[in-house]
């Protein structure tokens, strides 16, 4: 047989020049082409991962937004309000504060304002036909006119108490009290009965987040109450504002100031602590959802891995063909890994956008400030890409080891 001279045979030694190479642009082209050939599956695995990322970003965004709402509220209300009440419990005091308390407290240099409140023994009723026991869990408080200022509250309707004008009993209602008594509109003169005595309602307060007790009360001027409603009024609690930064120090010396004989019978609380605890609790709640988001993400990752592994088996022929046209095992690995990374990138972008959109939408409905933390955006995207990489690794190695045919 005659051997035909083959020109290609002469440069056989130049192996390195003929080494298989794949341009970076072709790496992307091949990966995108591979995904486009399996659009539905690619879409489903992107969906899985983007739901996981969206829930992470959404949870982080919503918790930040809602927390910022609480903290904004705290900013307005201030954290320097303290309440002083007689200690409750067995064998402790007589549920009133000493007569000297207000004077003593007012002398403290760190106290900006203080208002004493005395609880009346009678209930409040809409009319004089209601039995005395049905108080609707409302209390009647006698207060000095500075109460509203000390609490940082404001009026929803009508006016607040005026020490000089109100020498006759009139009432200002807390928000809950107004609701329970069925008083909606002060356009008509409205009466409530303190005990059996009719009292005119002159105002309704807006809800006070830092003073739930006041919300459930009917407040009357102290001097008038003393004169007309009950003659043995004793201070049952005090509300006070301290100077900024002196809250804790003031809190510590208050019991001895209020009742030098029995400081342990005085209880001092800081209502803003409750709101702060609420903000912290939202954080704890967040961890739970964050955990769920992570689970969704892992499931999404397994979805990608599943699609890729199935793809490897199905695409045996394609892999053999690529090997036959000069793809090295590395090229095959790279192709599968890139496909999976592209899924991760798309899933990340969609997930982050979706999470941000959910945060924005929900915050808008709730009237919160919209906060999508940068860490959540970057973290979510990085997590998606990392999951793409991890999920693609095993299938890629498997594909590259596959025998042809």
């Amino acid at each position: 047989m005659t051997a035909v001279v083959d020109p290609a045979a002469t440069n056989r030694s130049s192996t390195s020049a003929d080494k298989s190479r794949l341009r970076p642009s072709d790496v992307i082209r091949v990966a995108v082409g591979g995904l486009r050939a399996r659009k539905l599956r690619a879409a489903l695995s992107v969906l899985g991962i983007s739901i996981g990322i969206a829930s992470l970003v959404g949870v982080l965004g919503l918790s930040e937004s809602s927390k910022s709402d609480l903290l904004d509220q705290l900013d307005v209300l201030g954290t320097n309000l303290l309440t002083v009440t007689p200690g409750e419990g067995f064998g402790v005091g007589d549920s009133t504060l000493p007569d000297t308390a207000v004077v003593m407290v007012r002398r403290l240099p760190t106290v900006e304002a203080v208002t004493a409140v005395a609880e009346l023994s009678s209930g409040v009723y809409r009319n004089d036909l209601i039995p005395e026991t049905e108080t609707g869990a409302l209390t009647v408080l006698a207060a000095e006119s500075g109460l509203l200022d000390t609490l940082g509250g404001s009026m929803a309707q009508g006016r607040s108490l005026d020490a000089h004008a109100d020498d006759y009993p009139v009432a200002v209602l807390g928000s809950v009290a107004a609701e329970r008594l069925g008083i909606e509109d002060l356009g008509q003169p409205q009466l409530v009965y303190v005990g059996s005595r009719p009292v005119e309602v002159v105002g309704v307060m807006v809800p006070l987040p830092l003073a739930e007790d006041i919300n459930r009360s009917v407040v009357v001027p102290r001097a008038a109450a003393d004169a007309y409603l009950q003659d043995d009024l004793e201070t049952t609690s005090m509300y006070l504002r301290t100077t900024e930064g002196a809250v804790l120090a003031t809190r510590d010396i208050l019991p001895a100031t209020v009742d030098p004989q029995n400081p342990e019978e005085v209880e001092v609380t800081r209502p803003s602590d409750v709101l702060e605890a609420q903000a912290a609790a939202e954080g704890a709640f967040t961890s739970l959802f964050l955990g769920l988001g992570l689970v969704a993400l892992v499931v999404g990752g397994i979805g990608i891995a599943n699609v890729m592994v199935m793809g490897v088996i199905e695409r045996r022929g394609e892999i053999g063909l690529r090997r036959s046209i000069g793809a090295t095992r590395r090229h095959i690995r790279l192709q599968f890994l890139t496909e999976s990374l592209v899924l991760g990138v798309i899933g990340g972008v969609l997930g982050v956008s979706l999470g941000a959109a959910v945060t924005a939408g929900y915050s808008a409905v709730e009237g919160w400030r919209i906060i999508v933390p940068l860490a959540a955006v970057v973290g979510g995207f990085v997590a998606a890409v990392a999951i793409g990489a991890v999920a693609g690794l095993y299938p890629a190695v498997r594909a590259s080891r596959l025998a042809p045919n």
Binding site: M1, T15, K19, A37, R323, S324, G326
Partner: protein, 227 residues
């Protein structure tokens, strides 16, 4: 020096008992030869072709391409030999769906690292050579079976390999398309390309210069040796 040579090639797959797809094959194919490989299903034809094309490694024995022993080459070097010297055509065409004829053929040069424009230009030249110059922008689903296989052949030829290995290239084609593909192979043969074709079609095999018959992983008959 031979274009391809198998020396004592054994390919076995683990199992109980192990499967011997090739049970000791010695075969030399010279430059410019055109060989038909025939034999019953499962006899080891595809395995042998994959060995020749370095797509798979033998369990025992060695494979020489242009006199170069490939036994100790790593995957990169082996792929370089394959990519440079050998073109494959399969029974299933493996064209990328939704991709034009030109780009499917240009894919034959994907792993050479040459720029896309250059790859496309070479693809157009090759398509004209196989008589498909008028089907450049068609997609696989717009081509006949014979045309599809000629696109696959063009892809195998686009890097101008010295050796063309075809595994039942006409297995899916009607007689007219088969004739077109085989006509193309004869032309390539005339131009100096070494060609090995696996086929079930005995009349087609009869028309080729050399026939190798495989049975149970061995060469049962070789027209070049028998006479």
């Amino acid at each position: 020096m031979n274009a391809l040579e198998l020396r004592g090639v054994v390919k076995s797959y683990a199992g109980a008992p192990p499967v011997y797809a090739l049970a000791g094959v010695d075969l030399a194919i010279g430059h410019g030869e055109m060989v038909a490989v025939v034999g019953p299903s499962g006899s080891g034809k595809s395995t042998m072709l994959n060995m020749m094309g370095t797509l798979d490694r033998p369990t025992e024995g060695s494979v020489l391409v242009d006199g170069l022993d490939t036994t100790d080459l790593d995957d990169d070097a082996l792929t370089a030999v394959r990519g440079r010297r050998i073109g494959f055509v399969f029974q299933r065409f493996f064209l990328l769906a939704g991709v034009t004829t030109v780009d499917n053929v240009a894919n034959g040069l994907l792993y050479t690292g040459r720029p896309l424009a250059e790859r496309r230009a070479a693809a157009v030249r090759t398509l004209e050579r196989v008589g498909l110059g008028h089907r450049l922008t068609h997609r696989p689903n717009e081509l006949s079976g014979g045309e599809t296989q000629r696109v696959a052949v063009a892809r195998a030829l686009v890097h101008e390999p010295a050796v063309l290995l075809a595994d039942e290239p006409t297995g899916n084609l009607d007689s007219q398309s088969t004739a077109a593909v085989m006509g193309l192979f004869h032309e390539l043969h005339a131009a100096g390309t070494t060609i090995v074709v696996i086929t079930h079609d005995l009349t087609m095999a009869e028309r080729l210069p050399r026939r190798v018959r495989v049975l149970d992983g061995r060469i049962e008959a070789d027209s070049a040796v028998a006479g």
